[in-house]
């Protein structure tokens, strides 16, 4: 009997000891959430949708030629050492020497060319580059030249920091029909982290001690990155308050009120607390009356008071958008104050009423609401997805604002799928959206989305949900894409685009949703902030090249 007890004791000890090795040291682990919404199931950079590769696959494992740091509006050469236009239609990239893939193979120009050629020979999300790119020359081991038929200078800037470099020696062996279907469970990239483990509700990355960037940029501080799927804001808030999350990229209401009491940090100490990440716009379906009338649309812009939304709904965690919807340095380089002074709008219900009166939208039947030009009642509905509480509160304000000038608008909250159907099929009247208005390296991405020319199909999915049809404006945006950085011609076209959009008002820029980021310093300090701009506190997919790696490098463990 005694012997059995002794055995049991030994067993418990062994299990107990081995368990030490079986958990991640908290002081070496960064625990975060907010960017992953489905279980990690593939690490295939060619599957970029929600539910595709988990956030960090590109950024932590696969890397880009450049990083683009929006807060400084600066390109940081990453895998590339430099890049420049040799002529109007030839771009040359020189690569850093000594970079290796995680499996020990050398990274070189062949891999770069391959990463683009794969999109020429197969349907991928960036295959359309090949409608304006001619070919790629591998000049030597570290030099690649891209030759363009029709260079899209603005778009190219995005591509330089967007497309993940994939190893030729592995992906050339993948058959064409499997490119978009393999899970790529052991991804080989050039990046600072590797896949460590996967759970139903988490994904753990482990640092690659041999990362090429250690000597150049420094080594990322956390040995483990633990990305949790926290399904609800309430869970995330609770975990942040209990010090279980180091970094939360969720929108959490009430942060301004509780941040002091719970030691929660935000990028800006005071309002707006968060970095502006995108522009939320009100899309107006221009195919129906009275929204087909630009005078009516313009009057609406004067009637809405986004300041109330910013204060009441967001507790000043966001900022009011200017009339153009442009923000961030890269976009504001093209902002035209002159045009805004002349054509801009601001909250002014008196002007709104006056514009509506002038345009003939009067209350003809005396029911208190303005009527259409033909005398029929105007009844509009503004929609946002159900459960998106901040947007739901916002459209209540918008409806109230519009009612105040006599336009009968009711808020409605359909399920996300119904909302999406409505904006895609054009069966909505008014809707808030921001899906394609994220901060980027060029305002082209914003314009090309807000007033995209892809409106002829049955479904409109690439922005311009207003279905505003203006071939002249589309042409200007295309022309802007073909202009070089900040050249006088680019500035002129940009001003013309802003003018055309303000005159037509196919959508109304309202406020800038933030890069929601809350941090706490129980385990890690030196978080990026206004006074300590060490990076971009973001773990959302597709944005690791915006400065999240410098953040990881600059973090300091408390212990």
């Amino acid at each position: 009997m005694k012997r059995n007890w002794a055995l049991l004791l030994v067993l418990v000890l062994v299990v107990g000891l081995s368990s030490i090795a079986m958990s991640y040291e908290r002081s070496e682990s960064l625990v975060y959430g907010g960017g992953m919404w489905s279980p990690a199931s593939n690490w295939n950079p060619l599957i970029p949708y929600t539910g595709g590769h988990p956030t960090g696959t590109v950024g932590l494992v696969f890397e880009n030629l450049f990083h683009y740091y929006p807060l400084e509006n600066r390109f940081q050469p990453w895998l590339a050492e430099s890049g420049q236009w040799l002529s109007d239609n030839q771009y040359e990239i020189k690569l850093r020497k000594g970079i290796k893939w995680n499996d020990g193979e050398d990274f070189n120009a062949v891999d770069v060319a391959f990463s683009f050629l794969i999109a020429r020979d197969n349907p991928t999300y960036y295959s359309n580059i090949w409608t304006w790119m001619n070919d790629i020359e591998v000049v030597d081991t570290y030099t690649v030249r891209f030759n363009f038929a029709d260079p899209h200078y603005q778009e190219w800037k995005g591509i330089l920091h967007d497309i993940a470099m994939i190893p030729e020696h592995i992906w050339s062996k993948v058959s064409a029909d499997q490119l978009l279907t393999i899970a790529n469970e052991n991804p080989v990239g050039t990046g600072p982290y590797l896949v460590e483990s996967v759970g139903q509700d988490r994904m753990v990355w482990v640092r690659d001690e041999d990362w090429w960037g250690n000597q150049i940029f420094g080594q990322p501080a956390p040995k483990y990155l633990i990305n949790l799927i926290v399904p609800g804001n309430n869970n995330a808030l609770g975990m942040l308050m209990k010090r279980e999350l180091d970094l939360s990229n969720y929108f959490l209401p009430g942060i301004p009120n509780i941040k002091k009491a719970f030691g929660i940090n935000t990028y800006y100490e005071d309002s707006p607390y968060m970095i502006a990440e995108n522009t939320a716009l009100l899309f107006l379906n221009t195919t129906i009356e009275p929204l087909d009338d630009r005078n009516f649309r313009r009057a609406m812009a004067f009637a809405i008071n986004p300041k109330i939304i910013v204060e009441r709904v967001y507790e000043n965690q966001v900022t009011v958008a200017n009339s153009t919807g442009l923000f961030g340095q890269a976009w504001m380089d093209y902002y035209s104050q002159e045009i805004v002074d002349q054509y801009g709008f601001s909250y002014d219900p008196a002007t709104a009423k006056q514009l509506l009166d002038q345009a003939g939208y009067l209350d003809r039947d005396g029911d208190g609401w303005r009527d259409n030009l033909n005398g029929e009642a105007i009844e509009l509905e503004v929609i946002v997805p159900n459960g998106w509480t901040d947007w739901m509160e916002s459209i209540k304000v918008i409806a109230d604002n519009l009612k105040a000038v006599g336009v009968n608008v009711t808020p409605s909250f359909p399920d996300f799928s119904i909302y999406l159907n409505a904006i895609h099929q054009g069966t909505f009247e008014l809707a808030i959206n921001n899906f394609g208005a994220s901060l980027s390296v060029t305002p082209f991405s914003y314009w090309n989305w807000v007033v995209s020319d892809e409106i002829d199909g049955d479904l409109v999915t690439d922005g311009n949900f207003s279905r505003y049809d203006d071939p002249k404006l589309f042409k200007m945006i295309k022309a802007f894409n073909m202009t070089d950085d900040a050249s006088p011609r680019a500035m002129e076209i940009a001003a013309n685009i802003q003018q055309a959009m303000l005159e037509a008002m196919p959508s109304i820029p309202l406020w800038h949703n933030g890069l929601w980021a809350q941090t706490q310093s129980e385990y890690w300090t030196n978080w990026p902030s206004e006074d300590n701009p060490t990076g971009y506190p973001c773990t959302w997919g597709g944005k690791w090249d915006f400065g999240s790696i410098p953040m990881l490098i600059n973090l300091k463990p408390v212990k």
């Binding site: 107990g16 926290v230 399904p231 999406l420």
Partner: protein, 330 residues
């Protein structure tokens, strides 16, 4: 006995067929479609979205006519293939369910059994002890009328946030690696406790109330009075009453199983506990046809199997059922 079982089996088969058909149809009749939803926030090259969409619609066979999709669903069902998840692409639905269902079982089985046993004992006690009755009944009524999700949130708030004794997210700590180690087991139990407690307590009230009423009823039944007049001990009468009172409670278990499983789904969502409920919510939100089908199918099977087990148990404990089907009692 065989007659009883075969009759039950036929009913189960019909139920299964109908449930599977509904299971297939419902996600497809929801407005919206999965690929478009997953790509809704996709930002990339111009035209990139269309390329991806057409590729994946084809890959999932969503361009086929509905009737063909229905038949191929049955065909693959019989080969044990539930398809590939769309939002956790390219993971097979079967794998996802296999990894998740363990988290349902560890909560459900102990919660159902314990609450049934404890609830019946407490109810029986309450039925014979006036003081205990007055003390416990309001509490039981409160428990049984609490919706699972609401009760889960109260529990999470009190024990998870206010007192802070227990975690409110996931099935084990964020720095724990799953494995047969002490730290994992402790962390697992720590995370398991609150969802279990929620499931246990809400069910407890119903069983206790049911048993209490049964005991009161049985004690006033003629056989009890007769025994009393014969001078049988209170204890003996009580044990007879309990045995009679348990029968409707077993039927009750069968009737309430689907509600309990539904409650478990809600509880998991509140505690972000990665079982089927957690998976199903995400699957529905992403219109992942195959995963919705798979999880619903498993829940249907779970309910049917559990009901079947209760049926058999009923047959064992109630001789009348057994005899009526074997013709021993006319």
């Amino acid at each position: 006995m065989g007659k009883y079982l075969s009759k039950k089996l036929i009913i189960y088969l019909i139920t299964f067929f109908v449930a599977v058909t509904i299971d297939w149809a419902i996600p497809r009749f929801m407005p919206g479609e999965p690929i478009g939803m997953l790509l809704a926030r996709f930002q990339g090259m111009e035209g990139g979205r269309e390329i991806l969409e057409s590729q994946f619609v084809q890959a999932f066979g969503l361009d086929q006519p509905l009737i063909e999709q229905y038949f191929s669903f049955w065909k693959s069902l019989f080969s044990g293939d539930l398809g590939i998840s769309i939002y956790a692409f390219p993971k097979p639905v079967m794998t996802i369910i296999r990894e998740a269902i363990i988290f349902d079982i560890v909560i459900l089985v102990p919660a159902i059994l314990l609450s049934w046993v404890v609830g019946n004992k407490l109810g029986a006690y309450s039925g014979i002890n006036k003081k205990a009755d007055n003390l416990m009944m309001p509490f039981f009524y409160f428990l049984t009328s609490s919706p699972y999700f609401w009760f889960a949130m109260v529990i999470a708030f009190v024990f998870g946030v206010r007192i802070g004794w227990f975690p409110i997210n996931s099935a084990y700590g964020s720095t724990i690696r799953p494995g047969l180690t002490l730290s994992f087991i402790l962390s697992f139990l720590h995370h398991w406790f609150l969802p279990f407690l929620t499931m246990f307590l809400v069910q407890l009230g119903g069983w206790a109330i049911g048993m209490r009423n049964m005991i009161l009823y049985e004690r006033s039944a003629n056989y009890a009075r007769y025994m009393e007049s014969l001078g049988a001990s209170d204890r003996l009468i009580r044990s007879y009453g309990f045995r009679n009172g348990v029968l409707p409670q077993v039927t009750g278990l069968a009737l309430r199983l689907s509600g309990i499983i539904g409650g478990a789904l809600m509880t998991q969502i509140v505690f972000a506990y990665p079982g089927l409920g957690f998976i199903m919510l995400r699957a529905i939100m992403n219109h992942d046809y195959f995963l919705i089908q798979g999880t619903f199918l498993f829940i249907v099977i779970l309910v049917l199997v559990a009901n079947f087990l209760v049926d058999i148990a009923y047959m064992v404990i109630d001789p009348r059922v057994r005899y009526s089907y074997s013709g021993e009692v006319s």
